[in-house]
Symmetry: C2
DNA sequence: CGGCCCGACTTGACCGGACAAAAATGCCGG
DNA sequence: CCGGCATTTTTGTCCGGTCAAGTCGGGCCG
């Protein structure tokens, strides 16, 4: 039953024979964009969506999975599907502008900027969805701005996530899914290694290797930060055969660095 | 800072009554890691895997989807499923080391290093899978090192992908899936904008905005590169309502930059 | 009135089947 | 020998159903 006009508007059958669930996902995205459901609202149940689009539940679920991977909605078993973000073209321009502006700051001060942005986003989202800033929903928009995703593991993602690890921790975003992916892909458990270079007394440019535990080497990717108190931080992702939590370690001075 | 439980609350996923397809995916991953199938080999067909694990084809497909998202295998309709990478702990250490070494180079020379690495990886993979360097499979390992994934869109990913856009183009990796995600999420078509700053005559630090077409503004994220001939490139991702291909545009001089 | 339990509702996982689409394969005639 | 065509193989999509697991709210009982 071709009820929805959105389903009928597939333009070129021969050029774009899109799968059904992609059509459903696109139609849902369009409705999200049109403001049918505001941020924080709940989508119709999967059964209702089946009736709406005249497809089976499997197709609806596949479409919802695509939307969830895109970061548009969030599904919770037993509860329902909620709208995470209103992804409009204006929002895209705003996001790009924000990130472009962020890149203009020196590397050392970006974390400070991000922290300030977090509270702005909290207030903005609170006003948008009409609840107090202390509510759990307030964090949605802030999290969206620096979302740690269940992305396929690529090292650039890993690196950039390590770069903002501290800010992400402040925002309440946990790197669990990423670690799960590392575990599945490499068969090891990765750990977040945090080093207070200022406390170690070793200048960052002279520190190369650190030991998390005696006899347990841990590789690290050098990333240096400077907080407001002039303390230098080095946060990295490394390979370490231990459960996931933040490690603190002291630096080891090395003689030479090519 | 807010401290809090931090990563501790993430540990509630310790007791896991894992879904079946995750068990299948883990078992397949383990066999991949054990070297049952070498890089470039083809996995058993889905029907055979159904018989092997005594599950339905849907479960096998879900497991293969997980593996594909993790970058371990590649599926092609009509052909089969092939092994992309042997993801061992040693490989993880090697990858981390590679990226850490890459980060030690100045930003301007990283692309040159990546290009050199590409040919090394080509030769290495060719020897590993036993085929000529001209074969298509040679690119597999190189692609894996800087894989453009169909990741949920996060702007850090987008930024870092833009940073290596030129290298990724050299490696034959096309940013199609990423654009498709941008399109679904924001309802617009994003484009890769390439600017030859040297030809425009405008110094990079004085150039802020560019016009792809008359009257069509395109935001850009500043990323400057220097190739071997001393030419400065600026490659960025922007919002532009046009089909996906690389744009060339001239820079516009701006008076001031904070 | 408050805490607890049970049931309705919703998503998660899985099955067995069916057909479509793309690639590989083999056959055949030039 | 080789190019074109039909067949087979393999993955992609979709259906309708079943059961499990988590969430939420209302009613029961202390």
């Amino acid at each position: 039953m071709s009820t929805g006009p959105g389903l009928d508007m597939n333009k070129r059958e021969q050029a774009d024979p899109r799968p059904r669930y992609r059509q459903v996902a696109d139609e849902l995205t369009a409705q999200l964009r049109a403001g049918v459901w505001p941020v924080g609202a709940m989508l119709p149940t999967e059964t209702e969506l089946c009736a709406t689009f005249a497809v089976s539940r499997h197709t609806v679920r596949e479409a919802l999975r695509l939307l969830e991977e895109s970061g548009l909605v969030q599904r919770r078993q037993g509860s329902g599907t909620t709208v995470l973000a209103l992804a409009t073209p204006d929002r895209f321009v705003q996001d790009i502008t924000d990130m472009a502006e962020l890149l203009q700051y020196p590397q050392e001060t970006r974390l400070t900027v991000l922290r300030a942005r977090k509270f702005e986003a909290d207030a903005e989202t609170a006003a948008q969805i009409g609840c107090g800033e202390g509510e759990a929903w307030v964090r949605v928009e802030a999290i969206r701005r620096l979302r740690v995703t269940t992305a396929p593991l690529c090292f650039t993602t890993l690196l950039i996530r390590a770069e903002y690890a501290e800010a992400l921790d402040d925002l309440g975003v946990l790197p669990g899914p990423l670690y799960a992916l590392i575990e599945r892909r490499y068969g090891i458990q990765a750990s977040l290694i945090e080093v207070d270079i200022a406390a170690s007394g070793v200048p960052p440019h002279q520190a190369e290797l650190l030991e998390v535990e005696p006899g347990t080497p841990a590789l690290l990717i050098r990333r240096r930060y400077l907080d407001g108190q002039g303390r230098v931080y080095e946060i990295s992702e490394g390979a370490h055969p231990a459960p996931r939590f933040n490690y603190r370690a002291t630096l080891k001075r090395i003689p030479e660095l090519p």
